[in-house]
């Protein structure tokens, strides 16, 4: 089937003209390519594709790791949707995504705009702002964050100077999630670099022309910069929201492995982890994982659909 489909794609002229020896050479080249790729292919099949298919199967079973999985149909999903802790984890995650993503992108864009201008020590600034993203994923930052936002620590004391006393964010179910938001915002380096690259692509003539027409900086930003970098913005929104849906490490470390207090930082993956590895309900955890996959796919689809309305590609303009 595939062979037939593939055949017309190949340029017919080349094929007929090529001597048999050349064809064999290319084939050998292909084979060599596949051989070199084989560790990756094997790794993908064994470590990614295989487990994914297994987990799709487990999602419909009751599986405690010890006794063989038992087929239960949609039971995991129905229990999941009724589980108050699952609902809570969805709520916490959505809150995190909706608050952290825009703020992070806003800061990334703001700093990128500043850094796009030519000034002395530019490289140093760029490196300095990118730095947190390099170390951002590490567990140690989680610990530092916990120390910063605890009772009577830096943040708490600074707040008190301004007459705000919440007694530390880490122990307070109403605030602790925002300490995670702050951590995410702090790691704005990656989208910033992408924004910077986008800003470099904007043709200077446009600004010059606009300036001649008497457009102020705000107007230039709104009517030139933003539309011109909208593909980059779209890319960043997409990437960062997907990323935010999968937040785990910071929540796990900052709240001392319990994703609390009072489940206040019970992000989706944290609950999934607890279900799978603490309570040994692998079937339920797999169902949760696949629900997340579908949810993220839906969000991605909606974003792609919406881009027609606000993302400006140059080809489309022509």
């Amino acid at each position: 089937m595939t062979l037939v489909k593939e055949a017309p794609v190949r340029p017919a002229k080349k094929r007929s003209a090529a001597p048999a020896a050349g064809r064999r050479g290319r084939r050998r080249e292909n084979l060599a390519g596949y051989l070199f790729m084989s560790p990756w292919i094997a790794g993908f099949l064994l470590l990614t594709a295989g487990p994914m298919i297994a987990s799709l199967y487990y999602a419909f079973t009751s599986y405690n790791l010890f006794t063989p999985p038992k087929w239960v149909g949609l039971d995991n999903f129905t229990t999941m949707f009724q589980d108050p802790r699952w609902q809570k984890s969805v709520e916490v995650t959505l809150k995190y995504v909706v608050v952290a993503t825009p703020l992070k992108l806003l800061l990334a864009l703001g700093v990128a705009l500043l850094l796009a201008q030519k000034r002395r020590g530019q490289a140093l600034y760029r490196a300095a702002f990118y730095m947190p993203s390099l170390i951002g994923a590490s567990v140690s930052v989680g610990f530092v964050w916990r120390a910063l936002f605890s009772d009577d620590a830096v943040v708490d004391r600074t707040q008190k100077v301004f007459g705000v006393d919440v007694g530390g964010w880490i122990g307070n179910p109403d605030y602790v999630l925002y300490s995670l938001v702050a951590l995410s915002i702090w790691q704005f380096g990656a989208p910033m670099v992408i924004f910077l690259a986008g800003l470099k692509q904007v043709p200077q003539e446009l600004y010059e022309a606009a300036e001649m027409d008497g457009a102020g900086p705000l107007r230039r930003f709104w009517n030139i910069t933003l539309p011109m970098i909208s593909p980059v913005l779209f890319f960043n929104v997409l990437l960062e929201s997907i990323h935010a849906f999968q937040v785990f490490g910071s929540a796990y470390v900052v709240s001392d492995t319990r994703c609390g207090p009072a489940d206040a930082t019970l992000v989706y993956t944290c609950y999934l982890y607890q279900k799978g590895f603490k309570e040994a309900q692998m079937g339920f955890a797999s169902a949760m994982a696949w629900t997340l996959v579908v949810a993220v796919a839906l969000v991605t689809a909606v974003l792609f659909w919406s881009q027609k309305k606000w993302v400006h590609y140059e080809e489309a303009a022509k």
């Binding site: 292909n30 009772d151 530390g168 207090p261 040994a280």
Partner: protein, 430 residues
Amino acid sequence: MGTSRNVERRTILKAAGATAATLGLAATTTACGGDSGTSADGTVTIRYAWWGGEPRTIAIKKTIALFEKKYPKIKIKPEFTDYEAFWEKFQTQASGGNPPDVFQNAVGFLRKYDKRGVLMDLKAQADAGNLNLENFRNGVLANGQVDGKQIGIPVGANTMALVIDQKAFKKAGVEAKFGWTWNDYFAALQTIQDKLKIAGDTGYFAIMYLYDLYLRQNGKAFFTDSALGFTEADLTQWWEDGYKRVKSGLVADPKKIEQAKPKSGLSAGLAASEFTWDNFSIRYQGEGDSDYGLAPIPTTDGKNTGQYLGSLMLSAFSGTKHPKEVAQFIDFMVHDPEVGKIMGYDRGILATTEQYDAFKPTDPNNKGVAAYEDEVAKAGVLGKITPHPSGADVVEAAFLRIGAEVAQGKTKPADAAKALFSEAKAAFAG
């Protein structure tokens, strides 16, 4: 042409298949091989895993060295982490058929892993003369028995206690005496609050093992063989009272307790007392800057504390390749007097008479623990340990978590009790 391309594909598939198979085999060998096996010269290696802090690890490594000297043909490969990580790792290892040969265990996990066939019945090894089941103090050996099987060998015995900040209690002029009631206890907290302006307790109502004592004082227990031994109304009442005391400041602000972690609320100076296992009390002196002592558990009727001896144990993997060596190792670890001297009361009061007699505590902490358990034993209040059904560990974690939600005012006691019952049901079924 079609044929030749097919051949080509087949070759590639073969190559890929071969690679996958090789990788797969390599993965299997790494996973299963471990280091537990017999080497050419007949030396046997067994894996030994435990949880605990650094002092315990240092002490245990010393005991391992001692064992290897006495049994040159047996090598011990140590594995250790903290409590939470230990059980996560263990679960994965055990489900893959690759748990450690010998490991530290506790009553909350016995049935769970017995049900899953992970634990070895050590009776056969005792009958074969590789392990001595005599000389255990206060009938503590029974803690490792489930349905007539001996699946755990106790290394130490402990019981619940109230750890108090002695300076604070003295300053407030309150005394913790044997036979005091819950009303006396809460009155003491009130006096501490009035005189010292600090909370008296760090959050008693979220500790499952303390609630168990309270229930036992009232003729119930936390667990039956297969379910919870109390009603939703019981628990609602317990948590309602607890929340009231948080609001009034008798119990420390849970927000502050949360942020003091991993330090305990007591050693952080957030409250004047805390319920915990007596052998844990050794940590406070190092953590805090007051003097800490052990006080009796409050009672309902002035007599019965509901207490029993809990214990940490050593268990063995049912599928170990070296059952005899494993039994010899456990025997050495629980009976050898030298081991007792090294371990002290880190895992509770030493369980066998050989070790108990060998270790004479000299520091005030260990002395205090010994004196406390002596006193409890003399009072004659010790009862038999309550059963822990499979899933008890999950219920304990849920109790702590939901109790904290109540304390934070995020869940109403009645809803919280309902949530615990529903989570417990799922845990027992799993």
